[in-house]
């Protein structure tokens, strides 16, 4: 746990504080994202935590111990720090860069070898290919990933990451973010994470701290910042499209209409067509006997036919999984211009349905107090 009490930093020779009277508490095992415009004091705040910058006034505690009572070298060896400018050592190979702290801590060679490979895999760089390269032989994004790996080398319980994915292309960034979150869910480090990117903040943060000109403007969960911005500054910062940003935050599961109306492939065509007409449905989902989604039928296809619905079913290629976020779902929906997207689980079981109406409601403020689950929307269940 990291706790800041009334922390202020005034750089010598300046009179405006770079960090001004900040109170902050980062819980153990949580990612706290620092966000704010350039020059608002994020890096300054972070560097006070590992004593790279002396505090002007106020106190910082790590696990209830005042950091001024800890030897700074000792402190830094137990806090992983990925600096904003990356700062790989140019005279060392990737291997040596990552191995720096393990060597300072006198690890055995075999253990270091294993750890380096593990970390390279983690940051999506092929160990055999990159281990012996020098930093000048890396792209900016690759160098940044090595920087992150170096910071994580000894598996420190606390990590400070200053824009760790800033130089990485959007696709790889997503991959790294996901990878990082996956590990974080297992190892539960206490992380302070700086970013400029509100999307990244929403995705990565358990809490978000918004800073402006050295002051803490709002501290809260991503959900709180988006739905309940404290003032105009926060509103502007999270963007006029903050409702849309909630799409990053919400899962398909949160918005989907569960147990949507459907039929079974063995159902009789005439009865299904009759029921569809009564309900005003033009399309209908079809399940197989084990409740897995088989596809869909249209009323027109069933018109004047007889037999089993299964014979008229068309496959449904476009599906999402309940744990995907709404942004992905919406983008699929828009790309294929179908106004509906079906959620199935990994076994292909029909879980729910999203359509533009349910989406519009969930991104608006009107979602109900049950955390956005769609209990209110009527669902017919099995049509017959």
């Amino acid at each position: 746990m990291i706790r800041l009490e009334k922390v202020t930093k005034i750089y010598p020779g300046t009179n405006v504080p770079a960090v001004n009277d900040v109170d902050l508490e980062v819980q153990k095992g949580e990612i706290c994202v620092l966000i704010g415009s350039s020059g608002c004091g994020k890096t300054t705040l972070m560097r006070m935590i590992n004593r790279l910058i002396p505090i002007t006034s106020g106190t910082i505690y790590i696990d209830d111990q005042n950091i001024l009572d800890i030897d700074p070298i000792e402190l830094r060896r137990h806090i992983g720090y990925a600096i904003q400018q990356i700062g790989l050592f140019p005279h060392m190979t990737v291997y040596d860069n990552i191995a720096t702290v393990p060597r300072l801590l006198k690890w055995e060679k075999k253990r270091i070898d294993e750890r380096v490979d593990e970390l390279l895999n983690l940051v999506q760089l092929e160990p055999a290919q990159f281990r012996h390269r020098y930093p000048r032989e890396l792209s900016g994004g690759q160098a940044q990933r090595i920087g992150v790996a170096r910071a994580m080398a000894t598996d420190p319980p606390v990590m400070l990451m200053d824009e760790p994915f800033g130089a990485i292309d959007p696709i790889n960034r997503e991959v790294l973010q996901d990878e990082f979150l996956k590990i974080q869910s297992q190892i539960k480090k206490t992380i302070v994470f700086i970013t400029h990117d509100i999307h990244e903040a929403i995705k990565m943060g358990d809490r978000i701290t918004l800073l402006d000109a050295g002051r803490l403007v709002q501290f809260g969960t991503p959900e709180e910042l988006l739905t309940n911005p404290k003032n105009q500054f926060v509103k502007d910062f999270v963007g006029a499209d903050r409702a849309l940003k909630r799409l990053d935050l919400l899962k398909v599961r949160d918005a989907m209409l569960e147990n949507p109306v459907h039929c079974h492939e063995s159902d009789d065509v005439a009865s299904v067509a009759q029921a569809m007409r009564e309900k005003g449905l033009n399309f209908l989902l079809v399940n197989d006997p084990r409740d897995r989604l088989k596809g869909y039928v249209t009323l027109r296809d069933l018109y004047d036919q007889s037999g089993k619905v299964g014979d008229f079913t068309k496959p449904m290629t476009l599906t999402v999984r309940p744990e995907q976020n709404l942004k992905d779902a919406l983008s699929k929906m828009l790309t294929f211009d179908i106004g509906i997207v079906v959620a199935v689980d990994n076994d292909g079981k029909l879980m729910g349905v999203l359509n533009t109406m349910t989406l519009a409601q969930v991104v608006g403020q009107t979602y109900d107090e049950h955390g956005g689950r769609w209990g209110k929307i009527t669902a017919g269940g099995k049509i017959l």
């Binding site: 590992n50 700062g87 790989l88 140019p90 005279h91 300072l104 170096r150």
Partner: protein
């Protein structure tokens, strides 16, 4: 003689070619001056003076490096930073004193002999080493120092693992300059009874005997060229391949 030597020491392939052509022309000329004949008749004596010369150069350079690099390190530590420029200026002024004068001054205090010669050579060889050590260390990218500090290196680890390896190219270049100049300056040791190839050079000049003079000058130049080449190899071996870009960028320093 020193002028042409410096040109060669800074040289690349082009200079080597020019030097070879000159050497060929010079060979014919030297022959007419009686150089080869003299050398053949006095090989043993020349060899003894050569070894003496090498000793002067190696001992004085070793001391210069031993004093110069640590001084450079000291001058770049945080607490010394404000003395840095004044120290370098002072050293720069010292350097403008001709080497002959340094030797003369040293002689008035230390008398005559090898010690005086070495003392003077040390003083004279110090500046390029200190200046380059300071420049090399002061120019290490602050970002990587910051990264080193951030991951918990103490000042000593920072110095040996980060600063020196990154400053090595410039420091070694200073050592090379110092040693190559030293080979020429060491010829003056003769004037204070320090021995070395200066014996032949100055006697040759005094006796207006070009063959005699060249018997001293040619091995001196050869030694300088060899040292320059050898130290270049040492640099290639000692400097991390990761710094190769910096290396080519810095070669003009």
């Amino acid at each position: 003689m020193k002028g042409s030597l410096n040109k060669l020491s800074g040289g690349g392939r082009a200079w080597t070619l020019i030097a070879l052509a000159l050497a060929f022309a010079a060979g014919a000329w030297f022959e007419s001056l009686g150089f080869f004949e003299f050398t053949k008749d006095n090989t043993d004596e020349i060899w003894i003076l050569f070894v003496e010369h090498v000793q002067l150069v190696l001992i004085s350079s070793a001391i210069s490096i031993g004093i110069g690099v640590p001084t450079g390190i000291l001058l770049t530590r945080g607490f010394m930073r404000r003395y840095r420029n004044s120290s370098l200026n002072l050293l720069g002024i010292c350097q403008t004193v001709p080497s002959l004068a340094v030797i003369a001054i040293a002689m008035t205090y230390l008398g005559i002999g090898k010690k005086t010669a070495i003392f003077a050579l040390v003083i004279y060889g110090l500046l390029p080493i200190i200046r380059n050590s300071v420049a090399g260390l002061a120019n290490v990218d602050p970002v990587i120092l910051d990264a080193g500090r951030g991951i918990g290196m103490n000042p000593r680890q920072l110095l040996f693992r980060i600063e020196l390896p990154n400053a090595l190219y410039i420091i070694l270049a200073g050592i090379r300059t110092s040693m190559v100049i030293n080979v020429g300056t060491a010829a003056m040791s003769f004037l204070v009874g320090g021995g070395g190839l200066g014996d032949l050079i100055f006697s040759g000049i005094a006796m207006v005997d070009p063959g005699y003079m060249l018997a001293g000058a040619v091995p001196t130049a050869a030694l300088a060229i060899f040292l320059n080449w050898f130290l270049g190899k040492v640099e290639g071996w000692a400097i991390s391949p990761g710094l190769i870009y910096e290396q080519s960028g810095a070669s003009d320093i």
